[in-house]
Symmetry: C2
Subunit: 195 residues, 2 copies
């Protein structure tokens, strides 16, 4: 277990996603776990925190989400670049050993029957809010965040600390194919109070 | 007119948003124009390109979007930090001179009766796809991108060039309050073909 795993209060959970990182989506149903990468995930509301996530009909992870109604959204790091890209390009249908071959290791959290990916910067446990029209027409899922954790070396007191942490912990931001960016320098507007 | 303004083919338009930048939303109705900042904007589909954008019921820009059915999503730059923050925190209701006071200058594009913000890195003209349930319950709007442009110094041939361009042209990624990040270093997965 990562000794830096720290609970994030729900009223700060959207801050894990506001800066637009590429995410990993994991889910479990009937003993089967899977993880995929997704660039199209976005915060939707503050309290209770909600998010949107686009899950293609061909994705095996989507089937697990549909059957269980639950998922984990994770913020992978620059150090997980190769793994993140592989998780977005290999299907469990083609490779039953997908997770191992992509280099993803799962861990468990007490009380959560869900697969969490080791080494990420943040983890958000979500419950799907059923919206069949959005899901069928747009592949768009709406989910409520019911618990969240972050690695306290890179997210603390409601703020990311990318400028202080190991550069390998920076979030990933996908463009296309194998082309990503890491998040960069902090910019602060002077004279603005920030809690 | 910005001499670097270049048309982006629609099948590459989502690449302007894949990396999760904070955006500016502008709209016009009956001669009134407004611009707001929004962190919750996300690509939704490739062809035709679609996106989601969260517009709070209190936002005057939302009213303009609802009445005209059209909007521009813009990718502001690190050099526009102060302006972007101000556009997200000042309402046209409180300050009829909001745009001037925030430092935003608008320009026109032929054939588009829409307000475009000068100095951004990219501009996406969108048409709202009416989804009253999402709009009312979640403040979530779905829109189709019908035309897109980018500044060719920072986006070319379907890819961002942040690593080569002036650092002041990097995209902004909001966390909370006056705390943002600029996009950072390019990361490329080796051996992956990218078009």
């Amino acid at each position: 277990m990562n000794p830096y795993l720290a609970y994030v209060p729900l009223d700060k959970a959207t801050r894990l996603l506001n800066h637009g990182p590429t995410v990993l989506v994991s889910a479990r149903h009937a003993g089967m776990s899977n993880v995929m990468a997704a660039a199209w995930c976005c915060a939707l509301d503050f309290t209770p925190p909600k998010l949107t996530i686009v899950l293609d009909k061909s994705a095996r992870t989507r089937t697990l989400v549909e059957r269980s109604g639950r998922l984990v959204i994770q913020v992978p790091t620059a150090g997980q670049l190769k793994m993140t890209h592989a998780l977005g390009n290999v299907s469990l249908k083609d490779d039953p050993e997908k997770l191992a071959h992509c280099g993803a290791t799962l861990f468990e959290l007490a009380g959560q029957d869900l697969p969490f990916v080791e080494g990420c910067a943040a983890w958000l446990v979500c419950k799907v809010i059923s919206e069949p029209h959005n899901e069928q027409v747009y592949d768009l899922f709406i989910a409520e965040v019911v618990a969240a954790w972050a690695d306290s070396r890179v997210f603390h007191d409601g703020h990311w600390l990318f400028e202080e942490a190991d550069p390998a912990m920076r979030s990933l931001h996908h463009v296309a194919g194998g082309h990503f960016y890491a998040i960069g320098d902090a910019l602060k507007v002077r004279g603005v109070m920030t809690d």
